[in-house]
């Protein structure tokens, strides 16, 4: 689908932006992190992108970057714009767009507790879902959920007494301890 004309004009005003029309009614913008708030403001003010559908965060650990994706929908031009921007993973600080989009408060709070990205100017950076979690931000790629599970939980006993009796009598299928799901008890 062709972009509506005024979208083209609009996007021409912006330098440093890569525009890709991926699919029908989908448009991908790659924006440098400094210019993103301005781009969003322009999109909201000039093309009716009123609806912030979501803010996603992707952890590109190999490049040591977080990618923030702002999904915006406009009924005026019937297009979903995904504005991508990359920030450095290390301080992990970015600007909040709460003054433009109220729903950003939830998404930024969510990204903060799942990835540890801090948004300056967001109304509330307190924990929401993981209030009783004291580990690292779990959605980061370096967090190994399976290891954490093995560390903190026991597995159900897959060899109850009655099954062991059967095994001793020559029936059943004996599962060797090292083939079972590992757990604290097996390590001891």
């Amino acid at each position: 689908m062709e972009k509506p004309i005024h979208m083209e004009y609009l996007l021409n005003e912006l330098a440093n932006i890569k525009v890709r029309n991926e699919r029908q009614r989908r448009m991908r913008l790659d924006v440098p992190s400094k210019e993103l708030p301005a781009v969003l403001e322009l999109l909201k003010g000039r093309a009716g992108f009123m609806h912030l559908s979501a803010i996603s965060c992707v952890d590109w650990i190999d490049e040591n970057q977080f990618e923030l994706v702002y999904h915006l929908w406009s009924n005026q031009v019937s297009t979903l714009v995904s504005a991508h921007t990359r920030i450095e993973r290390d301080p992990g600080v970015y600007l909040s767009v709460y003054d433009l989009y109220k729903p950003a408060a939830f998404w930024e709070r969510d990204i903060h507790e799942m990835y540890g990205v801090f948004f300056e100017g967001s109304p509330d950076m307190e924990k929401f879902i993981l209030t009783e979690w004291d580990g690292p931000p779990p959605m980061r790629k370096e967090f190994d959920s399976e290891a954490w599970v093995n560390d903190h939980f026991d597995w159900q006993n897959y060899r109850p007494d009655w099954l062991q009796e059967i095994e001793q009598e020559g029936g059943g299928i004996a599962i060797l301890p090292d083939e079972q799901r590992f757990s604290r008890k097996a390590e001891e």
Partner: protein, 243 residues
């Protein structure tokens, strides 16, 4: 590796009781057990996705009330704690608080595979894998999720167990409190505590055994502080009054 016995009471307990008492108290006990089995109030607490199959089981189509099972609202009123599916760590704390508030005899039913072994969330950092580490479970109903028929048939089994006097796993919580508390502390941290004085109650109901107290309860005493009302954080709404 210390193996803990699976908390299932054998059928011998009631028969021992039967011989010791006189005939009237036996009849009375039996009547009480029968009434207990025919009147089960289950706690209205949806801990997970299995809760979606409870409304069909309760309402017009399967109608649990004809078996004397009805939902109750607060833990004080309830007999059955239905753990309907995965329990996240945050929920598990509430579940334990809830369980300790209930009046015995109380029964715990783990519905859905997730309560048995973590189910499809076995890799998840947020859900508990094995419910009977944290509280004694009377009955598991496996399935993802079990159909209402399965739930009802499980409840019928529980009723049978109550009728013959086998469903006293609640005593196990008093008798082996140290074990359960140890598992809870391992997951929630050393400072974990509940407002209920389990040791005191176990003494009061003469369910105190050597295994009630141990290293974990000593740890608890070390950290126990008087109960404070929970802090409420209401910052957001006040900050953004004009929203």
């Amino acid at each position: 590796m210390k193996e803990f016995p699976v908390p299932v009471q054998t059928a011998e307990d009631p028969s021992v009781k039967k011989q010791s008492g006189n005939i009237f108290s036996n009849v009375f006990d039996e009547l009480v057990r029968f009434a207990q089995s025919r009147s089960l109030f289950m706690l209205h607490y949806c801990t997970g996705c299995g809760a979606i199959e409870l409304p069909p089981a309760m309402t017009s189509r399967f109608d649990m009330e004809r078996l004397g099972i009805q939902p109750m609202v607060t833990p004080r009123q309830a007999d059955i704690l239905l753990i309907t599916g995965y329990v996240s760590v945050k929920t598990l704390k509430r579940v334990i608080l809830t369980y300790e508030q209930m009046n015995a005899p109380k029964y715990v039913i783990g519905i859905c595979s997730c309560t048995v072994n973590g189910g499809m969330y076995w890799q998840s950092y947020a859900t508990a894998k094995k419910l009977n580490d944290y509280m004694p479970v009377d009955l598991y109903i496996a399935g993802c999720m079990p159909r209402p028929e399965a739930v009802i048939s499980g409840l019928r089994q529980l009723m049978e167990k109550i009728k013959i006097g086998e469903a006293n796993s609640w005593q196990d919580y008093f008798k082996r409190y140290d074990y359960y508390l140890g598992n809870q502390q391992r997951l929630f941290g050393e400072t974990w505590q509940t407002p209920t004085d389990i040791i005191g109650e176990s003494k009061h109901y003469s369910l105190h055994t050597p295994e009630t107290e141990g290293e974990h309860t000593r740890l608890l005493e070390l950290h126990q502080r008087p109960l404070e009302p929970l802090e409420m954080r209401l910052g957001l709404s006040e900050k953004t009054e004009d929203r």
